[in-house]
């Protein structure tokens, strides 16, 4: 998409110049590699190829830029993608080529495929090429056989419980949650009481104008319960975040991009860097989806997130590895 499009503001609830319809329309474009930018009260979209129109933006003071990757499944080697290391490297190249360099990365889990030490080692090695700090939360593939002990040893220093934690960057409060432990038969993802109590306490003293970014592996909204794509106690978590003016929830697990806006909360799932999965209900099961080899990179991707101080909604942009 390379044409500039103007959107009229109908209902500006957050007083940031973006209304729900315009935002959703913009987010739908994001899947094709568009960038939505608020300029002078008007929402404009730019194809990624025309980012120079934005003046080759380097992050200004008060601006925060980070990238999310997810579901690298290092160790997977079936026909859907026989070279997950290669596609992860392509994701790193994409990150290194972003016009606004991210300050750090979030990895929303399923780092490894079988929780093997060499799989984690390989991912660490490949991500080193970004030169950025990476914040991880585990996927269900990362906590096999040992209740997540290895994951916490590698990536959970200073984290609580099964590996949840929070940190701040440029006035934005980040919360990493774990919803892949102690899964019950027939159930969805779960946060558990200890983690929910920690979350309530963690945000208690924050100003409601503090932008929040919550990241966890399984979606924190119910995408498709038949396939386990949801978290059974996320409503309680979101209740603790109700008073905040800007909440961005970043998830993985479903290996496709999806977004939903609910009041001040924007939910977004990332593509995998390893293999795609079918859309809800479009296949008998949510397993790896084979696509023609030349199309594989177009259904894998990274997510670039930008926050400008003073604006409510974070700009969340997906781009494929093609």
């Amino acid at each position: 998409m390379t044409t500039k499009v103007k959107d009229e503001i109908l209902h500006d609830h957050n007083h940031d110049g973006i209304d729900r319809r315009g935002f959703l329309k913009c987010m739908a474009w994001a899947g094709t590699g568009a960038l939505c930018v608020m300029q002078g009260g008007v929402l404009k979209s730019y194809g990624l190829s025309r980012l120079s129109d934005l003046g080759g933006r380097a992050p200004a003071a008060g601006e925060l830029s980070f990238a999310q990757i997810s579901d690298s499944h290092m160790g997977f080697n079936k026909p859907a993608n026989p070279d997950v290391a290669g596609t992860l490297k392509a994701a790193v190249d994409k990150i290194n080529g972003l016009s606004t360099a991210p300050e750090f990365l979030l990895h929303t889990g399923d780092i490894s495929h079988l929780s093997k030490p060499e799989e984690f080692d390989t991912v660490d090695q490949i991500l080193k090429a970004t030169g950025k700090e990476v914040f991880f939360v585990p996927g269900e593939h990362d906590v096999l056989n040992d209740d997540g002990a290895q994951f916490r040893e590698r990536y959970g220093k200073g984290a609580k419980g099964a590996g949840w934690y929070s940190f701040e960057k440029k006035g934005v409060h980040f919360i990493g949650l774990v919803n892949v432990m102690n899964l019950k038969a027939g159930g969805l993802g779960t946060l558990g009481r200890e983690q929910l109590e920690w979350l309530e306490d963690d945000v208690k003293h924050l100003k409601h104008s503090t932008p929040l970014v919550v990241f966890a592996h399984i979606p924190l909204w119910t995408v498709y319960p038949d396939w386990g794509w949801g978290t059974d106690d996320s409503a309680q978590a979101l209740a603790y975040l109700k008073k905040f003016g800007s909440v961005t929830v970043l998830n993985g697990h479903i290996h496709q991009t999806m977004q939903k806006v609910e009041g001040t909360v924007t939910f977004h799932t990332a593509a995998s860097t390893a293999f795609p999965q079918p859309e809800p209900g479009k296949a008998p099961s949510p397993g790896p989806m084979k696509v023609p080899a030349e199309q594989l990179r177009s259904v894998l991707g990274i997510t670039d997130v930008n926050y400008v101080r003073g604006q409510q909604a974070l700009a969340v942009v997906d781009s494929s590895l093609a």
Binding site: L144, G186, G228, P284, G287
Partner: protein
């Protein structure tokens, strides 16, 4: 060899073969004088256990084989049995000695559930 013994020796493999056909199991050993062990199979594929409900006699060894292209586990609801992670083509076996209903699920994909009924 006397005819009686000859028939006896012949009968054992025939009974074993019949048990094989009935239970669909593969690992059946029978030697003269021993009753054949019974076994049953559950195939894991497309994020499901097949058959979802399996009914067996006490003493049956059930073997789960993962035919899916993604790993799965077999975990009893009541902590009676628990497999390690099964990648494609890996197996897990458990011998059910006591009658009862044993619900289980995949701990990685908990929507996958199954049941072994021992009676």
């Amino acid at each position: 060899m006397s005819r009686r013994v000859w028939i006896f020796v012949l009968a054992a493999p025939v009974v074993a073969a019949a048990a094989l056909l009935i239970s669909g199991g593969r690992s059946v050993t029978a030697s003269a004088g021993q009753a054949p062990a019974s076994s049953a199979e559950v195939k894991i594929d497309n994020f499901s256990f097949g058959p979802t409900t399996l009914t067996v006699a006490p003493g049956t060894t059930v073997t789960w084989t993962n035919r899916d292209d993604i790993p799965h586990t077999v975990v009893s609801d009541d902590k009676v049995f628990k497999s390690k992670v099964l990648d494609t083509d890996e197996k897990f076996s458990f011998t059910f000695t006591k009658p009862g209903t044993y619900g289980y699920f995949c701990s990685i994909h908990p929507k996958m559930t199954g049941k072994v009924v021992v009676q």
